[in-house]
Amino acid sequence: MRKAVIEFKNFSFKYRVQKLPSLSDINLTIYEGEKVLIVGPSGSGKSTLANCINGLVPFSYAGVTEGDLRIKDQNPAELGIFGLSKLVGTVLQDTDGQFVGLTVAEDIAFSLENDCMEQSEMLGRVAETAGIVELTQYMGHSPQALSGGQKQRVSLGGVLVDNVDILLFDEPLANLDPATGKYAMELIDRIHRDSKATILIVEHRLEDVLHCNVDRVIVMTEGRIVADTVPSELLSSDILKKTGIREPLYITSLKYAGCDISASIRPEHIDSIVLEDLKDKLVKWHENNIPELNEPQSSKLLELKNISFGYEKNRPVLTDINFDIYKGEMVGLVGQNGAGKSTLSKIICGFEKPSAGTISLNGKSLDTDSIAERAQKIGLVMQNPNHMLSKPMLFDEVALGLVTRGKSKEEIDGCVFDVLKICGLYEFRNWPISALSYGQKKRVTIASILVLKPEVIILDEPTAGQDFRHYTEFMEFLLKLNRERGTTILMITHDMHLLLEYTERSVVLAGGRVIADARPALVLTNDEIINKASLKRTSLYELAMRTGIKDSRAFVQHFIDYDRRIRSNGADVKL
């Protein structure tokens, strides 16, 4: 008989500062050596559940618990957070916060140091662990010299070094580009096979986690478990739709084609799904699809000509960048970490001066404009809203740009209220910013940029850290801005769904150069571009290949067009 390692029985938890419980009636048993995925929208309680297992609840976040929780047959309250840390290793979402050592090796050694292990023994253990997480050549590197994926592997090494029985991953894919995310899932899978540890993954990006096999999926919403099942059952049910979790794209397209998905066809992976009976329907759907007409091209708005830049001589970050943005477009700027995307956005906004080249807007050069002058025309919305918010009250925050420009009270009130209405924040106008959700804060930062009426908005990772519902809400809002106000939008992103669903064009950077400037359907089906830009081939492409549809690019394009029509009819996505 399988041995239970984690047992929740009629378990509830309420944070001391909150009125309603965050977890209610949890009954869940996790068995030794299992690999379990916990999915749910934000606020569903999935992180709280994870924190109950590692001891942050109740030792760091106080509250009231009811019912029973056992970890390896022991009571967590008696083990304490330190006792639990010998059983459960947690890899947190914030890799910069978890990386407390000055170098990779020291960070991996951190818990051994706290256990007073002798240095000589420690050296061997750390070297061995660094090997497992493939960081041997980075042992002396500082965190500043590592990419997001490498930092995450350091965090993983830091818990593996303790030989824990249970590994807990809190949104491991949140800050990674698609290729790195895929690699992370494969690494977790390998560790699972080699160490026989029990693995829990908390995520909302279902398709990316299912890249490797998982034994069970727990679905949570509003503090309760609504499903506890195997992936194939989950994908053939309507639970995902009800809870607002994105299903894999190949499943969506099969459903569009009118195919029935049942557990027996093994839909959990694009390679495992049995397509024999579905093929005809899909091909028919593909052939019936009417290609959408290309919109007539408008005039050039932003032109980048021969832009080069480097922080140090002889070490160029950007080389000879050329591309144009047309009026009213929504464009994606993609590329792996360190490809120079953020630097390019800083150059466009005037924070950095290019060593060569010219940027012009409406045919007029911007080279002599100051930061503040450019901000009237081009607004930058940063990834982290907390880096932009500096006023306690919402109204003051949005008004700030106008106040510093010395506008009159009446003009400010008028402009701010207009913008708040557009952004769906009007009803909160007298609220403090702290009372808003993450997504709402993000809107506040956009409102504070929009109030200056720029012609172009650049958004850095607009959807990072947002679940499907918030993603959809937010992107539909941007789409509305784009359609109704004609605001041109440039988005820096890793998110392939965003590229497919909301951009007309993708500019791809790699090694400081533009390597592609094309429709997303083309970019995400071209292996060379995918590899260079650290992207991942979309499962739609694989689906086309497996069903014998020759022109896979056209298939992806058809899917995008169909999907947009469905969404603009409001048939599928409810907000």
């Binding site: 590692n54 942050l56 030792f59 760091s60 957070i81 330190f82 840390s85 010998k86 947690t90 947190l92 914030d94 910069d96 916060g97 978890q98 990386f99 407390v100 050592g101 000055l102 170098t103 090796a105 020291e106 050694a109 951190f110 818990s111 051994l112 140091e113 706290n114 256990d115 007073c116 002798e118 240095q119 420690m122 050296l123 500082s142 965190p143 500043q144 830091g158 818990v159 800083k346 906004c349 924070f351 930061i371 503040a372 450019r374 901000a375 607004g379 930058l380 940063m382 982290n384 907390n386 880096h387 932009m388 918010l389 500096s390 700030l400 740009g401 510093t404 504070s448 940029i449 200056l452």
Partner: protein, 275 residues
């Protein structure tokens, strides 16, 4: 961002000393140069520190930028001393040899010059050693060295956290200040003083808020990995004390004792050539 001094391994014998030794050296040397005003001792220490600097193989270019700053600061200080107290040397050395009358109550005396030369010398004895300490001690070793000389490991680790997060914070500062400038907040000299202070506050607020979030996350991460579990901890990056380390420390202690004896032998901290 301004340039910061930083460690790099040049492989000299100074680099190979343990962090604990260098920390003790830095502290005792500072202490000795703080206590004494004995010109002969200061001169001796200055020469020794130059020799040590030479042995360390540190390039002069690595410190030229900071040396300029120090010299400017030193000059201002020397001038300020003269403006506030032109007769300080006379008071200390109890004699007065006039060189030239300047203006008003200001006269230049040999004693004042000698006193101010001693002030400058005090700077010069400590600067090479302080610079060397920063340039030749691996930051990773620093916390364990503090712990070894008797400071609680928790406070020692606070120092390690500071060193770890300074670069991240500097980057955040630049990011936030750019974001605020784009919204029209003027960081230049064009606006009034009060306005400028408030504008800096507009950058500090987001920076401070995100720091508070960081404190939360880092505390959790450290707690989850057992920090504070025991009354002591070991250090991965600690360097073992070797024979040379003990030799250096012994020499230091002897120097410190001699410094104290010489300094207070005459009943005054000052060496008085005018007596």
């Amino acid at each position: 961002m301004a340039r910061m001094l930083s460690y790099s391994d040049k492989g000299s014998v100074i680099h190979s000393l343990s962090g604990t030794t260098k920390l003790l050296y830095f502290l005792i040397w500072s202490l000795a140069s703080m206590i004494t005003y004995d010109t002969r001792l200061l001169l001796f220490m200055f020469v020794v520190s130059l020799v040590i600097f030479r042995v360390s193989k540190v390039d002069f270019e690595d410190i030229a930028f900071v040396l300029k700053l120090i010299l400017v600061f030193l000059c201002i200080n020397l001038i300020a001393i003269f403006i506030f107290s032109p007769e300080e040397g006379v008071k200390i050395y109890q004699s007065r040899t006039l060189i030239v009358h300047l203006f008003g109550n200001y006269n230049l005396t040999v004693q004042q010059l000698f006193y101010e030369m001693n002030v400058a010398l005090k700077y010069f004895t400590i600067i090479p050693i302080a610079l060397l300490f920063i340039l030749t001690t691996n930051p990773s070793e620093f916390a364990s060295a503090l712990n070894k000389i008797g400071i609680s490991y928790k406070i020692s680790y606070a120092v390690a956290i500071t060193l770890r997060y300074i670069p991240d914070m500097q980057r955040d500062y630049v990011t936030v200040s750019q974001a605020q400038q784009a919204r029209g907040i003027d960081m230049s000299r064009k606006v009034s003083l009060l306005k400028r202070i408030k504008n800096v506050a507009a950058v500090l607020i987001p920076l401070f808020f995100s720091s508070m979030d960081r404190i939360e996350t880092i505390s959790n991460a450290m707690e989850l990995r057992g920090f504070g579990k025991k009354n002591k901890r070991t250090w991965y990056a600690a360097r073992k004390m070797k024979r040379l380390d003990f030799a250096v420390i012994s020499a230091l202690v002897i120097l410190a004792v001699i410094a104290v004896i010489i300094t207070f032998a005459g009943g005054s901290r000052f060496y008085n050539p005018f007596a």
